[in-house]
């Protein structure tokens, strides 16, 4: 059977793109050491796709010739543009429709996936229990029938059972031996033959912890099969907490505690979930309740101390500075004070003084902002800052005050789905005395949308628009970027990035404002954590950039390098030292750049101390 219209419609486009993507996928599979279908098929299908594209182009060209010829013979006949217009329009419609259909399917998938979750939340605890009990009763009948049938068992049926038992034995042996792959295959074989096997369901879920969606589905299945086992509820709770669905996780832990009151794993698991949900006040109470009855539990005591540190007020003194290729340097001293927080919202205040100099001129800025950070839902993080920046008086000009602030909302699908990052901000640009003197202020709104298209493969779209105001002029800067990122491991990501930045006009305020900047980079993000919880993060980018001055042609490509690194060292409970280094040899990407050859490096050292 061939469904649809082969060759026509969006099917043709879908398979064309599928074919063109095969080399990328093959390379990725080889890189990860996974089973692949081989280069022969890839080369053959890519060649077919290439030939189709060439054929379509030739058709368009011939069509254009035919239309032109028909115009000469029949001037009144035909109304189409004599070019590749028809194929081009067909191509555009086809690609657009395909994107629409594929996006629709993904949205439908997200919608469908959420619906059952709502239906099974333990808000309807009583109903769910009733359903579970009903399901258990409904299972009695097959068991009774099974027992009766077993008494008169046919050899074939016995063979089936033996098959299941054999798979189960092999699966348990492999699980005990630590052979996760073999165990998963055998447990899957057990479930294929006996989908009611709760033991295999639980074990398979454990083996699929790296795939939270599948693990959660299997643990839920286990709860349906074994509704009286509190460990099933704990497993679902833990899986939900790992995906950021803290409310549901807590309800599952409550269920587990109803079945097994006082069970340590349920109490501690619930408290850990409260910590993850930033409900540290409730977590401290839960830990405290457990320690009141089990005062010798050292692990819980440590976790309680950590929770108290997280909820305590904190101060963070910091010192930082930067230097660029034009001889501009900054020195920044400041600090942040955070108020005590027992819930998901944290308030604080930040103050800093920055001195900017270039060997001739020195000027200072002071900044004071109020900060609030909240997580209204587990998937949503909102950060807000509001305050003002005061620029010192210089050469007869008085001091000025500029309102500054930022509002940022980040949403990420807890199950590793799409993510959205929206940000609006207003701040003074302080990389050089000239920029400060000219009161250059950036007011920007932007969005980053991330869409996972396959396991580990993500597409990121970045869009920003900013107004750059100064004493002389107002300029507009637009940034568009596309990123294809592949998560090689959970802590390593490689990406290919294209950035395009445009300024609406030149500026004499002290920053480089070419008509167009294009940057193509390969990037990698690496995050490592040692046994002593020291975190290293590196964001590297290597590529090329080119710029076009206002009214001029695009210049040559030159190198573009960037590096951001973070080292966070926990010194003691509640004390963490952070060192950040930011270097750029693709300065045109930044508003503070002065030329296309601008280079920049900055660093910052801070110490967060939780107050007792």
């Amino acid at each position: 059977m061939t469904a649809g219209l082969p060759g026509t419609g969006i099917g043709g486009m879908f398979y064309l793109i599928s074919a063109l993507a095969t080399p990328l996928r093959e390379g990725y599979l080889r890189m990860r050491g996974r089973r692949s279908r081989g280069w022969r098929l890839v080369v053959a299908q890519t060649a077919i796709a290439g030939a189709i594209l060439a054929g379509m182009w030739a058709t368009g060209w011939l069509l254009g010739l035919a239309v032109r010829a028909s115009h000469r013979v029949f001037p009144s006949a035909g109304t189409l543009h004599p070019s590749n217009l028809l194929p081009a329009v067909a191509l555009l419609i086809s690609v657009g429709t395909l994107a629409f259909v594929l996006l629709g399917v993904e949205l439908l998938r997200l919608w469908v996936r959420r619906r059952p979750d709502r239906e099974t939340t333990i808000d309807h605890h009583q109903n769910r229990r009733a359903v579970a009990a009903g399901e258990r009763r409904s299972r009695i009948l097959p068991f009774v029938l099974g027992a009766v049938v077993a008494a008169h068992a046919h050899p074939a049926a016995a063979q089936g059972r033996t098959l299941t038992t054999g798979h189960l034995g092999r699966a348990d042996s492999a699980f005990t031996a630590g052979d996760a792959r073999a165990a998963a295959q055998e447990y899957a074989a057990v479930l294929a033959a006996d989908p009611w096997n709760s033991h295999a369901t639980y074990r398979l879920a454990q083996l699929h912890r790296h795939d939270p969606r599948l693990a959660l589905r299997l643990f839920r299945r286990y709860v349906a099969l074994e509704p009286s086992d509190p460990w099933g509820y704990m497993a679902v709770g833990e899986a939900l907490a790992r995906t950021g669905r803290y409310g549901e996780a807590l309800r599952y832990y409550d269920d587990a505690l109803r079945l097994a009151p006082g069970e340590r794993d349920a109490v501690v698991g619930r408290a850990r979930t409260l910590v993850r949900a930033r409900r540290t006040g409730a977590a401290i109470a839960a830990y405290g309740g457990w320690l009141a009855a089990h005062a010798t539990d050292a692990e819980v005591r440590r976790e309680l101390a950590a929770a108290r540190v997280a909820a305590a007020p904190a101060i963070k003194p910091l010192v930082g500075g930067s230097r660029d290729s034009d001889g501009n340097a900054t020195l920044r001293l400041g600090g942040v004070a955070e108020l005590a927080a027992s819930g998901p919202t944290r308030l604080g205040v930040a103050a800093s003084r920055t001195q900017v100099r270039n060997g001739v001129t020195t000027i200072g800025l002071e900044e004071l902002t109020l900060r609030a950070s909240a997580r209204p839902w587990s998937a949503l993080q909102i950060d807000a800052e509001g305050g003002a920046t005061r620029v010192d008086a210089l050469r007869g000009a008085g001091a000025t005050m500029t309102p500054t602030g930022q509002l940022r909302a980040r949403w990420r699908d807890p199950l590793g789905g799409p993510a959205v990052d929206l940000r609006a901000r207003r701040n003074a640009i302080d990389a050089s005395p000239l920029l400060v003197t000219n009161r250059v202020v950036r007011t920007e709104i932007g969005a980053i949308v991330e869409l996972p298209v396959a396991r580990g493969l993500k597409l990121r779209g970045i869009g920003r628009t900013a107004a750059l105001t100064s004493s002389f002029d107002v300029n507009h800067r637009t940034t568009l970027a596309g990123v294809v990122a592949v998560a090689v491991t959970p802590s390593v990501e490689v990406s290919a990035q294209i950035h395009e930045i445009r300024h609406s006009r030149p500026s004499s305020a002290g920053y480089f404002a070419p008509r167009l900047i294009q940057i193509a980079q390969a990037g990698s993000y690496i995050e490592l954590e040692t046994a002593r919880s020291i975190v290293f993060a590196f964001d590297l980018g290597i590529g090329a950039q080119r710029a076009a001055q206002q009214g001029a042609a695009v210049g040559p490509w030159r190198r573009a390098l960037r590096l951001y690194s973070l080292i966070a060292v926990p010194l003691a409970p509640g004390r963490e030292l952070r060192f950040e280094l930011d270097g750029d040899d693709s300065g045109v990407a930044m508003e503070s750049a002065t030329t296309a050859q601008w280079r920049y490096v900055s660093m910052q050292l801070s110490l967060r101390v939780a107050l007792p």
Binding site: I10, I48, T97, G160
Partner: protein, 374 residues
């Protein structure tokens, strides 16, 4: 692993352990026979004219199957005699099962080998087809495998159209589906399955008119793999007249829509397959409507015959894979001569799919009668 509670309930509410045939009934199967651990089931209803070729092609395999079971679904044309004369086991249900799936399930009761092949009674295999298909089952997660399909006869316009359609689909679309690990359908005319997994799924379901689609998508949702092995070639007899083609397209189009209705929720959890099915469904509905209705209207409204080029503008997209497939088989001339027939068949195909979508989804008139064409 589990697509939805509904599917599980639905599956389990049925008889999970279909009664096995008493050993005494097995007759020739119990005799030690040289061959691979494969049993072939051939459902047949009035297939006396073609079943002999099917059986002979199986007996001539480079690795012959251990058993061949012809399920004579109460034929009236002597199918049973033809099959018995060739020395294979013939079983006959008490009454006509009413569908291919019913006959196949009846045959499944007699299978004692770890692998089962389902083949239509009008299909012959290339001599090495079974041998080529077997390696796909080296990996334990593979539950089914299918081969390359080409019409046995390429004479009428409909057979020629189908020839191009198959050359195109199996050289291009299906190879990509295989590369991404999700062949859309394990073809009903020739596929191999793991018997235990087939049994766990209660064999072939007759809840839709496309039992092969139903089974393939059920396997994916249960976490199994399906493979397409292009080297394993089979040759079914395709409809040679519009009447027969109409019956087949009606069954296929309704079956596809019924399966989309039945499985859509579970398919959403299967990467790539969900996109492939969505695209196929879109092309079967919206693209078919554009093809049949919008293009002529646009041509009239714009008073431009150039718009009608839309009917064949994708000819290069069709021609390239077809010629690649034909070149491998050294059938270039036959393929070029058959190309125009493809565009005729595609138009007819669009009509049937559009009708099926309207009937199944808009009017609620689900086709349930299995009408045999080819």
């Amino acid at each position: 692993m589990f697509s939805s509670a509904w599917r599980l309930k639905h599956r389990w509410s049925r008889d999970r352990t279909a009664p096995r045939a008493p050993l005494a009934e097995l007759g020739p199967l119990l005799r030690p026979v040289a061959g691979i651990d494969v049993t072939v089931i051939i459902p047949a209803y009035n297939e006396a004219a073609s079943v002999a070729d099917t059986i002979k092609s199986l007996q001539a395999q480079t690795t012959p199957p251990r058993a061949i079971i012809v399920v004579d679904d109460c034929s009236t044309d002597g199918t049973r005699d033809v099959a018995q004369a060739l020395g294979v086991m013939v079983v006959r249900p008490p009454t006509n099962t009413g569908s291919k799936a019913g006959a196949q399930n009846f045959g499944l009761r007699y299978v004692r080998t770890p692998l089962t092949v389902a083949i239509d009674a009008d299909t012959v295999l290339a001599p090495d087809a079974l041998e080529r298909l077997l390696p796909a089952f080296r990996h334990p997660t593979v539950a089914a495998a299918c081969g390359f399909v080409l019409p046995q006869r390429v004479r009428s316009i409909w057979e020629r159209g189908r020839y191009i359609e198959y050359l195109f689909a199996f050289t291009y679309y299906k190879q990509l589906q295989e590369y991404y690990g999700k062949p859309l359908i394990s073809s009903g005319c020739f596929s191999m399955y793991r018997t235990d997994i087939l049994g766990a799924h209660n064999g072939w379901s007759n809840r839709t008119l496309a039992e092969d689609v139903d089974l393939t998508w059920s396997l994916y949702q249960a976490g199994h793999e399906v493979r397409f092995v292009p080297e394993a070639v089979c040759y079914p007899i395709e409809p040679s007249t519009l009447t027969l083609m109409g019956k087949q397209l009606r069954r296929w189009s309704h079956g596809f829509v019924q399966n989309v209705k039945l499985h859509w929720r579970g398919l959403l959890a299967v990467p790539y397959l969900r996109s492939a099915v969505a695209v196929a469904f879109w092309d079967a509905t919206i693209a078919a409507a554009v093809y049949l209705v919008l293009l002529p209207i646009l041509a009239l409204m714009l008073a431009s015959p150039w718009v009608l080029i839309g009917y064949v503008i994708d000819a290069p997209a069709v021609l390239v894979p077809v010629l690649v497939g034909a070149a491998r088989r050294r059938e270039i001339r036959r393929a070029i001569a058959s190309i125009p027939a493809f565009f005729v068949l595609r138009t007819v195909n669009a009509v049937f799919f559009l009708r099926a979508v309207c009937a199944e989804l808009l009017l609620g008139r689900s086709l349930r009668v299995y009408e045999k064409g080819h």
